[in-house]
């Protein structure tokens, strides 16, 4: 099967997945107690005013009817209107999406930039001090919760040490985003890079002992070339899968980091909308998240195949 056909087929899989996600999400969020009308009308709400608002929003209709209406809108690209803000839910989600994509993309990039050199150092110094240090120190990063790491980074780099980075926010323009998103991305990297280091180190150790590496060395190739051209390319294949799984997890897990750094991303929108029982936004974000996760896994598979010619698209 060609790459194009494979990608097309996987994209078609998106339809039943997205449909399943919308059904699950729609009925789960409506099963949870809590009424958006009461939340919005506040503690002065009387039963009469709550009923009026519920009727206006169509929340007094049977759930299957509400779901039918929701899906009818979704196929036309309309996620409905936010109950809290009274504006298009789709527009709100799309406005927030770049922030989350920046966080995930920049975080993944920093994770790789940190993990690859550390893994190479560890693998080439097996069971020596650098290896022990590389294996132990990043694990500490895994032990700290992201909100704590975020606050410490803000304190150190945002308030002290010359106030080199802004204390939260998304910044303006590409360089502004790059500047503002560095600490949040570093916080993401703190969580992912230790896993990547361990995975890549293990693969590298295995690859470095394989016959073709011994052959490359015996041909007199410099060690840098052996590592870069022969060992790393093959070792990185399994790490790509690990990275893909972690990015997939990150899609729904950026919430804490967005909260700490006051980033107006999708995760932050999601949690506020759940608290406000803003059903259209919760449904919209879930739909977007599910599509993103499927796409990340698809990209991981494609990258895997491109790195390893033995992998066939089936």
């Amino acid at each position: 099967m060609s790459l194009g056909a494979y990608v097309g087929r996987r994209l078609l899989h998106l339809v039943p997945i997205a449909l399943g996600v919308t059904i699950l999400c729609f009925f789960l969020i409506h099963l949870v107690p809590g009424d958006p009308a009461r939340t919005i009308l506040g503690n002065q709400a009387t039963d009469q005013r709550v009923a009026l608002l519920r009727h206006q929003w169509g929340l007094d209709r049977p759930l299957p009817v509400q779901y039918g209406k929701f899906m009818g809108r979704v196929v036309h690209g309309d996620l409905g209107t936010s109950l809290f803000y009274g504006v298009s839910a789709g527009r709100l989600v799309l406005q927030r999406l770049p922030v989350t994509l920046w966080l995930i993309g920049f975080g993944a990039l920093l994770s790789v930039l940190i993990a690859v050199p550390l893994a190479v150092i560890a693998a080439t110094h097996r069971d020596r001090l650098p290896d022990h240090v590389v294996r132990a120190v990043p694990l500490v990063g895994l032990g700290f919760p992201p909100f704590w790491v975020g606050i410490v980074l803000l304190l150190v780099f945002g308030l002290h040490l010359g106030r080199g980075f802004p204390v939260g926010g998304y910044g303006n323009g590409f360089t502004g985003h790059l500047h503002s998103m560095f600490l949040p991305a570093l916080t993401v990297a703190f969580g992912i890079s230790p896993i990547l280091v361990r995975s890549l180190r293990a693969s590298l150790l295995e690859v470095l002992e394989s016959d073709y590496v011994v052959t490359a060395r015996s041909k007199g190739l410099p060690e840098r070339r052996v590592l870069g051209r022969h060992a790393l390319r093959n070792a990185v294949i399994s790490t790509v899968s690990v990275l893909g799984v972690n990015i997939g997890y990150l899609v729904g897990g950026t919430l804490v980091i967005e909260q700490v750094y006051a980033l107006p991303g999708v995760g932050q929108l999601m949690i506020n909308s759940i608290n406000q029982r803003d059903f259209p936004i919760v449904q919209g974000v879930t739909l977007v998240f599910s599509v993103m996760v499927v796409l990340v896994y698809l990209l991981t598979d494609v990258a895997h195949a491109l790195l390893d010619p033995r992998v066939r698209f089936e």
């Binding site: 503690n43 002065q44 709550v50 009274g86 926010g169 700490v260 006051a262 506020n272």
Partner: protein, 514 residues
């Protein structure tokens, strides 16, 4: 003059010069400066700027910067004073109010405000059945005999009328929503206030800029004000310290002491109308027993709650009305912590051996969890076993309003400078629309006093009615009065003239950066 005398003279001269310079600096810093922008960071984003239908403080306090009422609340929160009107004449036995409008008031689009705008604005507000229209129910009709006069005819005498007119929902907007559809107008409202609409990124920030046509000459001083949505309290504090924001709205109680000693930060606790309560649902038979409710009220260790939850920044509540509300009676006999009295009340009740009760607590609501622990320990001493039912805050809110609870925490902040809004909500089981603060408390004497106070325009007589009402309600212990707490604001020491009223709103036309 010898050398010693010359030295002394020089020292005196230098001291006097230093004193003069300090005084000059002080007087200069007290003179408002024009220019600069201020950014607020707060835990919630604004929902809507439709002042007639929005109940969220984070929206209301912003809308008030754009749309102003005829009368406004005084800084002590207890009275009203002329604002877009200069005076009012009451006639026809208290059923006709004739307002004279302030000359020279313009909307931010440059058009003059007239009586037609006032009539339109309040007619529109009172039509809103889902919104604040119920507070204008006494109005029979409004006429505009000339551009500077507005006449309100009431259906009956209504003592809180001027306080109701000062409500944000009765703020003045251009007639016919300035030619736009209603919903469109409130996406970027126009008013006579010190600031005008600039921009909004939904879910992130709202920015207002100076209204060049503002009727108070020279004001506002600030060029613009931005409200940012920053959910994490630690981040808000760090942003204040990093000068990325100038105002941190409602920092947590446990950070107050630290912020009070942070250089460059002013931490102020403004007296508020916020009152926290323990709701006791009388649909649960033990709580319908007056002695049981009195026992619980006596068993609440308010000082322990204030110490551990508010870190000392609060006062025990002794009435369901807060001190910043007119006719608050400090001697209404609100029950205070006394375990011996609590045991005596339990002994007189139908449940002398105690009972089990469930306390609704918001999941992740640390304040409620801490108060619940204190309450659980106290009530155990009088034979009441409390178990917690944790729910996320939205569900908790719904269950309280649907009276699907036994014990729960709640609070109130005033919207008008009159007790009527809270009294009706809290004790008028039928008229208040909230089953007496969702407790099912029903004392016809109290309801009758509340109705009489609504129609009594003599302030002295009204005070007597509310005194009696508070005393009976306190004796019935229909709510556990917990504590009064302040509004907490940490802001840049460069920000001057920032003052929060007991109702929670602020007049940013007086704020300036020095």
């Amino acid at each position: 003059m010898n050398a010693r005398t010359r030295l002394l003279f020089l020292a005196i001269l230098l001291s006097v010069s230093a004193l003069c310079a300090t005084a000059a600096l002080a007087s200069r810093s007290a003179t408002p400066k024009r220019g600069g922008s201020v950014t607020f960071a707060r835990i919630e984003d604004s929902q809507s700027f439709d002042k007639t239908n929005v109940f969220q403080n984070e929206s209301i306090w912003l809308a008030e910067q754009i749309m102003e009422p005829l009368y406004t609340v005084t800084p002590d929160g207890k009275r009203v004073k002329p604002w877009l009107a200069t005076s009012v004449k009451v006639s026809n036995g208290g059923k006709t109010y004739t307002f004279k409008l302030r000359p020279g008031v313009k909307f931010s689009n440059g058009k003059a405000m007239t009586s037609a705008d006032v009539k339109f604005s309040i007619d529109d507000a009172r039509k809103q059945s889902k919104g604040w229209g119920y507070l204008d129910a006494a109005i029979k009709n409004i006429t505009a005999p000339n551009p500077s006069t507005v006449v309100f005819n009431l259906k009956f005498t209504w003592a809180p009328f001027l306080a109701d007119i000062a409500l944000f929902a009765n703020g003045i907007i251009p007639k016919n929503w300035n030619g736009e559809p209603r919903a469109q107008f409130y996406k970027h409202p126009i008013g006579t206030g010190p600031f005008m609409w600039d921009k909004r990124v939904v879910g992130q920030s709202v920015t207002f800029k100076r209204n060049p046509f503002y009727w108070q000459k020279g004001k506002p001083y600030l060029d613009s004000v931005t409200w940012k949505f920053v959910t994490d309290e630690n981040t808000r504090e760090l942003q204040l310290r990093g000068n990325q924001i100038q105002v941190d709205e409602f920092p947590p109680f446990n950070s107050i002491a630290k912020l009070q000693h942070t250089p460059g930060v002013t931490m102020t606790l403004f007296p508020s109308t916020r009152t926290d309560y323990l709701d006791m649902n009388e649909k649960y038979p033990p709580l319908a027993d007056r002695h049981v409710r009195r026992a619980i009220s006596h068993a609440i260790d308010r000082q322990a709650i204030i110490k551990s939850v508010l870190f000392g920044h609060g006062k025990p509540a002794n009435s369901f009305l807060p001190p910043q509300v007119p006719f608050y009676n400090p001697n209404s006999g609100g029950l205070q912590f006394d375990i011996a009295k609590a045991k005596a009340e339990m002994a007189q009740s139908k449940f002398p051996n105690g009972f089990k009760v469930t306390l609704l607590v918001g999941a992740g609501a640390q304040v409620e969890a801490a108060m619940g622990q204190i309450l659980q320990n106290s009530l155990k001493q009088i034979g009441i076993n409390v178990t917690f039912k944790q729910e996320d805050t939205s569900t908790e809110f719904q269950d309280v309003q649907k009276q699907n609870y036994q014990l729960a925490f709640s609070y109130w902040t005033m919207d008008i400078a009159d007790p009527d809004e809270l009294v009706t909500f809290a004790v008028d089981i039928k008229g208040g629309g909230a089953h007496s603060f969702f407790t099912e408390y029903n004392n016809p004497t109290v309801v009758n006093l509340s109705h009489k106070a609504q129609r009594e325009t003599n302030a002295g007589k009204r005070a007597q009615l509310y005194n009696k009402l508070q005393q009976i309600a306190a004796g019935d212990a229909f709510l556990g009065f917990l504590y009064y707490s302040p509004f907490r604001y940490a802001y840049s020491s460069k920000l001057h003239g920032f003052f929060v009223y007991p109702l929670g709103n602020y007049h940013l036309e007086d704020a300036w950066l020095g």
